[in-house]
Symmetry: C2
Subunit: 389 residues, 2 copies
């Protein structure tokens, strides 16, 4: 298949592109490289050094004899998006190209508006490009489990059958997300479902859990193929950040009581989910939703697991929760769609964490300790507006 | 109370501002006058001539000795929005300031993106301004019944209690809107509910039905206080447009089979709903939703009612439905919240339609017949993108 990976320079976009290429697909990636610019803005960088986009692609070509096309541009530029889809003629488009950090969206008004504008308009332009050029293109869109919030009922995969006053309907699962970033993904999902309905597009919305891990079979072939590994409080996901805190001898910071339960997924499973979704497209007009995670755990459990496995001293510290979220709640989310299509999960295991500790230890001198602690607070608005971060 | 009416130059914003002023509130209006610019873009105009914003305000002052402050600016300009709220110090903000036509949002890619950007970013800026300056300000936000779509279960007011697999939760009512415009309002509602949750804002979301009518007690005091009256296929609402078709001896155009059921509300009830909502604010942190309509009817029923009442020859014509929507569906929507707060509905009656026919007849020479028929088609994309409308 011809597969275009949007956001193909990012933490997940790059390993996904390599995995699809390794499996024989013709892959193109598109990126505006703004993720690297966020590093400059925040004064942080990937723990693991990453090569430039062109070098990554060149090394992959040298090692595998496989080409990856590179499109440099921004999805909010309608003409660029249209031209790219027209030129590459994909069978599937995998869409990672959004601002993907909840804390980043909550820095202040500017960052909230930027996040929603960037994500919603980029996706709208993509929907129009697909509808105009070839409505048969399968859109594989990255969403997040955070869109659901923490309802007191079971979380289903995107849709739910409701019986109300004796009548029944299948409706979009009602969502109550926890940041302006998560909200942007909810907006996207509504827009995409509508596009499927009026234009007969085929779409798969992947509500992904918290991803952890740094290596895949493909990225580990050469250090210059490494994907980024974020540990800072804005872009670092919780398990990765805690593993780094353990290696550095820093306390593992748990927000509030740590009872927040989330879905988690290993990076190697993420890239498989993307491959499986592409190779098993949604039907024409179908808005298909998968919950893309393999196990659910509380943040406190994650901290305790990391501590238990780490071969050294380790302690957990509860800090004030900078977010507004329930810390003690019911959580049970379905995740059978991808398993039924053949996903073989790699669950959180000692082995994996062991290899993560090694990677971290090799790069420990690159860590900026100040970046580990949360500065962005959900309840704060005024000071952010006036003074920036 | 001090009440700021955003979009105070529009079809509903202007009569609402007058009604609030007449009832003793200190009113300010804000507008970027873009609604008047849409007329120029589309080559249409209000059937009833409307005075300039400054003349309207001057006439109102002369007649009633009451001042209305005018802010000229755009909500997507964060600094303008912030400064306006800081300067006026409202107790309530009534927010009509959005692009409000479904067909306009479906003209092409540019109009879809414009609508979502304008509506979502404007509301985000407003939420930040309120949270920064005074979280006690009550936000009264105009939504639409069209956000719900046509579910096979009863439509409740914004929230619904769901029992699923033996557990129960109160969740946002799941929505499935029918245009990029309606979607923008769904996005707004999600953003506002979040702002109530994290900042303790108080908000009332008014999901309004299709408004009909042209006069209120206040606008009828002087022709220079008249509000706009749109009959074109892009901005004209169905009942107003059909009344005009009857007077002109044109067929009343019903889209498809006309079985689409919608909620309707008289203009004089709309301005009362706004007053009632302002005078009975939501609680701190509450995201309160009212369905703002007084009766539900099918489009075919509306056409037949207009024909029956019109004192002349009249015929109904079914035309191809330009939209993608169910034409035969269950529809039963709750609308008790505003009644409980004291709304006394003016139902669709012969008297009212009679007075509308008179208004229309006085201005019949201003009609552009070409503007009556729908040109915007939901399923079309490519031609729109390339050639514009």
């Amino acid at each position: 298949m011809r597969i275009l990976v949007l956001g193909g320079d990012g933490y997940l976009g790059w390993p996904s592109a390599l995995h699809l290429s390794a499996r024989g697909h013709d892959v193109g990636i598109a990126d505006n490289f703004v993720r690297r610019a966020y590093d400059l803005e925040l004064g942080v960088e990937s723990l693991v050094p990453i090569a430039s986009p062109t070098e990554r692609i060149r090394v992959w070509r040298e090692l595998t004899d496989r080409e990856i096309a590179l499109f440099h541009g921004d999805l909010t530029d309608a003409a660029f998006t249209h031209r790219m889809v027209e030129e590459f003629r994909p069978d599937a488009v995998v869409h990672f190209a959004e601002q993907r950090s909840a804390p980043y969206s909550m820095i202040d008004q500017h960052h909230a508006v930027y996040t929603q504008h960037n994500n919603v308009v980029g996706t709208l332009n993509l929907l129009y490009a697909i509808a105009d050029i070839n409505p048969d293109i399968h859109l594989v869109k990255l969403g997040t489990m955070g869109e659901y919030g923490t309802p007191n009922i079971d979380i289903e995969e995107g849709w739910i059958d409701i019986t109300h006053k004796g009548r029944t309907d299948r409706v979009l699962y009602p969502k109550r997300p926890g940041s302006f970033y998560h909200l942007s993904k909810v907006h996207d999902s509504h827009n995409i479902e509508f596009a499927c309905r009026i234009w007969g597009l085929r779409a798969t919305d992947l509500n992904q859990g918290v991803v952890y891990g740094q290596e895949t079979d493909e990225t580990s072939l050469d250090t210059r193929l490494a994907t980024r590994f974020d540990y800072d409080a804005v872009f670092g996901t919780v398990l990765n950040r805690m593993a780094i805190q353990a290696v550095l001898g820093e306390p593992l910071t748990v927000y509030g009581q740590g009872g927040q339960v989330r879905g988690f997924i290993n990076l190697v499973d993420t890239v498989e989910c993307i491959r499986i979704s592409c190779e098993n497209p949604a039907d024409q007009g179908e808005f298909r939703v998968f919950n893309q995670f393999t196990e659910q755990m509380s943040v406190r459990d994650i901290a305790e697991t990391v501590c238990r496995v780490y071969p050294g001293r380790c302690r957990v510290e509860m800090i004030d929760n900078p977010r507004v979220e329930a810390e003690d709640h019911y959580y049970r989310a379905a995740h059978t769609g991808l398993l039924e299509l053949g996903l073989m999960p790699h669950l959180l295991s000692d082995t994996l964490l062991g290899s993560m500790f090694g990677i971290i230890d090799r790069h420990r001198d690159r860590v900026n300790l100040d970046a580990l602690l949360p500065e962005v607070r959900w309840r704060k608005t005024a000071a952010n507006l006036v003074s920036g971060r």
